[in-house]
Symmetry: C2
DNA sequence: ACACTTGTAACGTAACAGGTTACACTAAAG
DNA sequence: CTTTAGTGTAACCTGTTACGTTACAAGTGT
């Protein structure tokens, strides 16, 4: 159960990958093979990290695609959990 | 790094929740607060588990929403990894 | 025969990742 | 001061996907 608001993966990407390497958004986008707009949207929290983008990041930064997508999952899930009460769901199990 | 083709979360849902409780798709869909079509699509691998659906499942079956969404993430990622070679990405880091 | 369950086709909507082009802004370098 | 590089983002487009309702065909069991 997630307790705290997880950071948007874009922030992590910026702080752990882009800034340490002194990369510009334009450079990084070109290397990743996506448009500058797409990367910019991620870095500014306007869009999420897709499975394909996670793989791109894993290649460019020699990291784990799983870690990127898991971060996104935690973020998305926290958003959905905030609306837990609004979903009228009947309990089917007590296990 | 994922090595094996992960099962579709719908299969797991069917085998671990629906069938053990002797639930019909119609009943389960009603309890979850979604249409029969939506649940059927998930159970038959035609659509994935959304963040909101993960929360619904966690309420209905008293489980962890994280586990459901993580399963979906692993599944989606495995699909994306199959196309790893097709993405022309430049390595930016050797760390 | 009838009722129940199921998958699914055929429509629709909303959301979202991604693309191109173009604009305004900032900051640095000449 | 002008020029250049970098940036965010608006305005358009596409493709995909989750979800809804309605309706149909097929299977199963009473």
């Amino acid at each position: 159960m997630l307790m705290h608001n997880p950071p948007h993966p874009g922030e992590v990407l910026k702080e752990l990958c882009i800034e340490p390497l002194g990369l510009t958004v334009t450079e990084a986008a070109k290397a990743l093979g996506v448009s500058r707009k797409t990367l910019s949207a991620i870095l500014n929290g306007k869009s999420g990290i897709s499975p394909e983008m996670a793989v791109r990041l894993s290649i460019a930064f020699n990291t784990s695609s799983e870690s990127w997508l898991n971060q996104q999952t935690q973020y998305d899930l926290w958003q959905a959990e905030q609306r837990r009460e609004e979903l009228h769901v009947t309990r089917l199990s007590v296990a």
